[in-house]
Symmetry: D2
Subunit: 266 residues, 4 copies
């Protein structure tokens, strides 16, 4: 069987380059999302960091600031999420990930999203579609798109996202999408145009806070001819491993949202 082994591809060195987004991390819980530049970089409340030694180095390189050492990394998705500025309530990773899955999102996918909100889900989408994919995100509220744009720009992901200030109850203006994800109060009002925007085989997913919205969404999806419609919710429970033993954490979010999804077949 080893004769059929797929060879491990070469891993070329990937030194940090000027202009890319990086995370400067001092120790647990203290990290800053920055652009890697040769000039001085101000970190509010801490001082000025000289990042130039990091340019051309590998990830993990140490840079000093006022007697402390910062390590420089490319930002991971968890880094980006923790650094988001939020206007609206932001989606939890568990829900963002499951919406992605239920909506069939993967590298190369072409995804429509409404509404944009603070861009929390957009960040997940833009990361997961990769460089070969694209996201078009709609919101009718300019102030939301402004926050989302900033978040995406800071995360280095804006080039993968088209942000449209547009009320999708008047329709989406893009076709042949692989996935449509609706984080709207009344998703059932846009199902017809969402379906038209999907290629055959594409998925629609909705995310709603109340059971009433979930119910109406699921019924409307069935009526609109979506197939395999299913609905679920996810509960995340932290686990605390301490000196005295292990137990679930006391704090827990009792509710985030209900997910539903179906597929356009015909």
């Amino acid at each position: 069987m080893n004769g059929r082994e797929v060879p491990v591809p070469p891993r070329p060195a990937r030194p940090l380059v000027e202009g890319e987004r990086v995370v400067a991390r001092r120790k647990e819980g203290e990290s800053y999302l920055l652009t890697l530049t040769r000039g001085p970089t101000l970190i509010e409340g801490l001082g000025v960091l000289d990042l130039s030694p990091a340019i051309g180095s590998e990830e993990g390189v140490e840079v000093p600031l006022a007697g402390r050492l910062f390590r420089i990394f490319r930002p991971s998705l968890p880094d980006l999420v923790s650094q988001m500025r939020r206007r609206a309530q932001i989606i939890t990773p568990k829900d963002a990930l499951s919406l992605l899955y239920l909506a069939g999102v993967r590298p190369g996918a072409f995804v429509l999203e409404a509404g944009t909100g603070s861009g929390g889900l957009t960040l997940f989408l833009a990361t997961m579609v990769g460089e070969s994919g694209h996201v078009v995100s709609y919101d009718r509220r300019p102030e939301h798109q402004k926050v989302a744009r900033e978040n995406l720009e800071r995360s280095g992901l804006l080039s993968r996202v088209t942000l449209r200030i547009q009320d999708v109850t008047h329709g989406f203006d893009v076709r042949e999408a692989d996935s449509v994800i609706l984080d709207l109060p009344e998703p059932w009002r846009v199902l017809a145009s969402a379906k038209e925007s999907l290629r055959p085989g594409g998925y629609l997913a909705t995310y709603t806070p109340t059971f009433n919205q979930l119910e109406q969404s699921v019924r409307a999806m069935r009526e609109a001819g979506f197939e395999g419609v299913r609905a679920l919710e996810l509960l995340e429970r932290g686990l605390h491993v301490g000196e005295g033993g292990t137990r679930p954490e006391f704090e827990m979010l009792g509710h985030t949202g209900f997910l539903a999804a179906g597929r356009r077949i015909a």
Copy 2:
């Protein structure tokens, strides 16, 4: 702000090509993972399907079989998951997705996994790293890797995965990984070599069924110098929207596994 809008990239037609993997779908719950060929394709218990009209067509094209119509699609990740053959218990999507997230996996990532099992998590990894990423998956049991190889081959993802029949307690043989994911009974035994295999900034994630294993894993990760170590579990609850109203589903999986993750900084 519209002046700064990122243009929607062109969406070239992507007709189905001979030799690629497709799903033939008749109706909900009845679909078949096939290779698109010109010759006759046998579907056990149903008959012989002539897929040649689908070659060069767009997704969603209809193909007849014994008076029924099948629609042909490129397989989505949910399609692949539902078509898996399993030897061991297979990981749930909620857990696979969160492990991916906690381990910082994204398009282009280079990921190590142990053990392979039936290749359930491998399927998620191979999908999400995309064409530019790679997965090396270790298992010391040849019979597991055989099932995993078949699953990956049927899914059209084998070229992204190097399968190694190897006991990782003797160490990983690859370096500069972005992520290491351990689905092993005793992950603490391989933490030292797992850490060496990670690039600075890379993530380690573990998946274990008992609290005892979780506890020992978390303690060992802290001792091995992983930072930001956290642990959690996810509960999925289906929701039933029926004629009589909406309620959570009666059937529920009470436990799947505990997730833990940390980051190699130094």
Copy 3:
């Protein structure tokens, strides 16, 4: 402080008496609910038991049957629950107990219940109101009340329960109740008469399977002037302590019912 200690009351011997209900228990999971009589007692599939040596003995006394020993006990509430015959789906202990609590049921209470179903909740109520309390249980379906009557009779609790074959949408016929518990499809249809049946300070509780029923119940309770209306659900998760360690059990009931309760003040 010890000088103010409440003395432990004397614990008189309470030998088993002829005619009372007992449980004959051979080993875990194998026990039988019987009446303590001097004559032979048939246990289906096992043979004939002579319980007469148990009369006048303390609980735990051993009685032989065909070479095996059975121990004789007074039945506990868990014993009674496990021995119930059921026609309808039976309420889980967690829900029965919380309904009792939310409805303010305690020893001496006078409680109305509708509908009776198989008498599962009635069993809890009759046990918890004690000898000085009473339960009136309504159901319009004679076949349900027949099963409930048998269950209560077998449990030795029938003397505490008045079973009425009556459709309570036409009103309850008893007043000054401490608690009313509604396990009905449309509890909102009987709230007005339920409120009239309650003494000031008494509690109403409802138990419904769908979100829609819960919502309509809660709104109707508020409109009917019930105070402190609250709603909740309980999830029970078994824990498995095995040789390999401890974990939550895989099997779990994902949903039983929603509880709501409020109080009649004015």
Copy 4:
């Protein structure tokens, strides 16, 4: 079948009597636990209440204070719980109720409890055993028992409870208990003496915060010969019925404690 109907017992009037504990309730969420006396009753921050008109009246009678009306009721168990003063973390009703059930507690039962803590579980026990039952509660910390004593006295339940300042690792000093409930850090240290204190057929229940304590308790219970040992946890999820629809509440307690129970047979 109506001919066999158990008659509803007469419900004699039960006017409020001087000296008993009452709740004065103004409106939702504002209530005071008081003793019904003829003299003036001070409510801190509100003024002086003259409760004498309530003596001899039925529950629900209105009494004025500074232009507001208070209604006077006998306290329910939920009233008592909400009025508790706590030193330690107090047990949730869902857990208290299930411990009661698992330990077979019912009216007339004779129950041992260790440790007393703030008396939260003691309050449930003293209520549910009724006037014919009794609770002996042990705690080695005098300051805990002081708070518990005050809580029980304010609740009018002290006469049903013997409070002992005693370390039960040296043994219980009472026999023939129906139930023993252990809310201790190391319940396994007292299992032998707990078993001796139980009558045959009696139940032991434990309540512990960590997996490790649960595991050790369950193993020790099995080794000590307890039968039918089971373990579980309960999650309570509030439901919010608002104008915009119904959803689970955002706030939720992620963990309270693990319950385990078994029965002394031999």
